[in-house]
């Protein structure tokens, strides 16, 4: 395969970047747009004590939920865990620390990390203990705001429809969701893609994530879980 940037890798090779105790950010929303092959690879490699950052904890057997259900995470930063009861159970048993962030603010915190900004100001959920706990406030033009800090991760994993060998990515429909944000926020970003196409074959106007942000590309084996609606 054409690989002039050396970014196209095997699953085995990219699994070398994962380690116990790491911070891992993942794309996806309710499992839609989460990278199945990478998640299975991380599971099979036995990686544990992970701090996970992403929209939600999927379903018990869907998306990142697989890692959570098997007790591989010690902490999750997410907007909700309601669709994965095992996450709730682990949290209440004190085996999983959960930091909740309002969904749109979580997305902005990830984006801020991705574009190298340290924080944003927000007025969402200010009166809510769960949101405002331990967060600094700032008075701007007489109005009180929370300082919501940027999020980055040692490794980000995303799922895309197509990549070229530079790692330029396009996404499919609502499977885009948090993926373009997560792709920018990783110190190392790995894209799992349905198809790798030749350099120059993607319309440069349609590329959503420039390959600049992508370090490794692997071909996907496709979604291997049964969706909740199936």
């Amino acid at each position: 395969m054409e690989n002039p940037f050396g970014k196209v890798k095997t699953l085995e090779k990219v699994l070398e970047v994962f380690y116990n105790g790491m911070t891992l950010m993942f794309g996806g929303f309710g499992g839609v747009g989460s990278p199945p092959t990478l998640i299975d690879g991380i599971l099979e490699k036995g990686i544990r004590d992970i701090t996970l950052i992403g929209n939600d904890t999927g379903f018990p057997h869907i998306g990142i939920g697989k890692l959570v259900s098997q007790g591989r995470a010690i902490k999750v930063i997410a907007s909700h865990i309601g669709s994965n009861p095992i996450a709730g159970k682990l949290m209440h048993e004190g085996r999983l620390e959960v930091e909740f962030s309002p969904q749109g603010i979580l997305a902005e915190r990830i984006r801020a990390g991705g574009v190298g900004l340290p924080a944003i100001l927000s007025d969402i959920g200010m009166e809510n203990e769960l949101v405002s706990r331990n967060k600094p406030h700032f008075l701007l033009n007489g109005k009180d705001y929370l300082i919501e800090t940027a999020l980055t991760a040692e490794v980000s994993i995303v799922y895309a429809k197509k990549a070229d060998p530079y790692g330029n990515l396009i996404y499919d429909k609502s499977a885009r969701n948090t993926n373009p944000l997560v792709a920018m926020a990783g110190d190392i970003t790995i894209a799992e893609v349905e198809e790798i196409v030749p350099l120059g074959s993607l319309d440069p106007n349609e590329i959503i994530t420039p390959g600049v942000f992508v370090d490794h590309i692997i071909p996907s084996k496709g979604v291997n879980w049964k969706w909740a609606w199936e």
Binding site: G88, A107, K173, T178
Partner: protein, 221 residues
């Protein structure tokens, strides 16, 4: 009229009256999801989903689902002409910028001041707030559709919410199987009654005081 789909559709049908051509509307799960069924066929409404869809259409036929085209709850939907996809920051940017005209939500409790408590189910674990806070705080109009009382018969329209708030003073309108209320700076104003209910029944099943409009619209079922 009793429990079941009928009164749910009565509520949804009334909510549909609030929607006008060209509006951007976000629907919660439950009764709100029935609202599109009650819109005129030729009305152009852009349904918004937090995961990055504008112009969401109805569920696909069985067997026609696309695993990469799902709503914020993870269930398959379709896309109407003029629809588009965006990332989650842009989807929430629409909400915070005031470009979402209406959000129609279910709720556990609503107070006389329009406080909304819809994100922690009593007796269940804390699931996280998802996108509920942004929608409640920032949609231009917040409409709550819910049963007038909970399963134990306790009023859900209360003087002060006992459940944790999603957001304070954010609700504009409440529609139940009994009545329609507007939230005003002075408290709730009952504007409509669903047949066969009367003011006394509504008062009995509502914890807080409410004002009554000079002209009450009575809606047949």
């Amino acid at each position: 009229m009793g429990l079941g789909v009928d009164f749910r559709n009565t509520i949804a049908k009334r909510a549909a009256e609030e929607i006008h051509n060209g509006m951007v509307v976000n629907l919660g799960i439950g009764i709100p999801s029935l609202v599109p069924n009650h819109l005129p066929k030729n009305m152009m409404v852009m349904f918004h989903a937090e995961n990055g869809i504008t112009g969401m259409g109805p569920s696909p036929e069985k067997g026609m689902e696309d695993e990469n085209l799902c709503n914020a709850g993870g269930f398959p939907v379709t896309l109407n002409p003029g629809g588009s996809y965006c990332d989650s920051t842009v989807a929430f940017g629409m909400i915070r910028r005031g470009r979402v005209d209406i959000t129609i939500l279910g709720s556990l409790q609503v107070s006389a001041q329009g406080d909304l408590a819809n994100w922690i189910v009593p007796g269940k674990k804390v699931p996280g707030m998802g996108g509920a806070m942004e929608l409640a705080q920032k949609a231009r109009k917040v409409i709550v559709l819910m049963n007038h009382c909970d399963k134990a018969g306790n009023p859900k329209i209360v003087t002060s919410c006992t459940l944790p708030l999603t957001s304070a003073a954010c609700v504009d309108m409440i529609i139940t199987e009994l009545a329609v209320f507007k939230v005003t700076p002075d408290g709730l104003l009952l504007t409509e009654l669903f047949a066969p209910y009367d003011l006394q029944i509504v008062a009995n099943r509502t914890e807080c005081d409410f004002m009554v409009s000079d002209t009450i619209r009575k809606i047949a079922n």
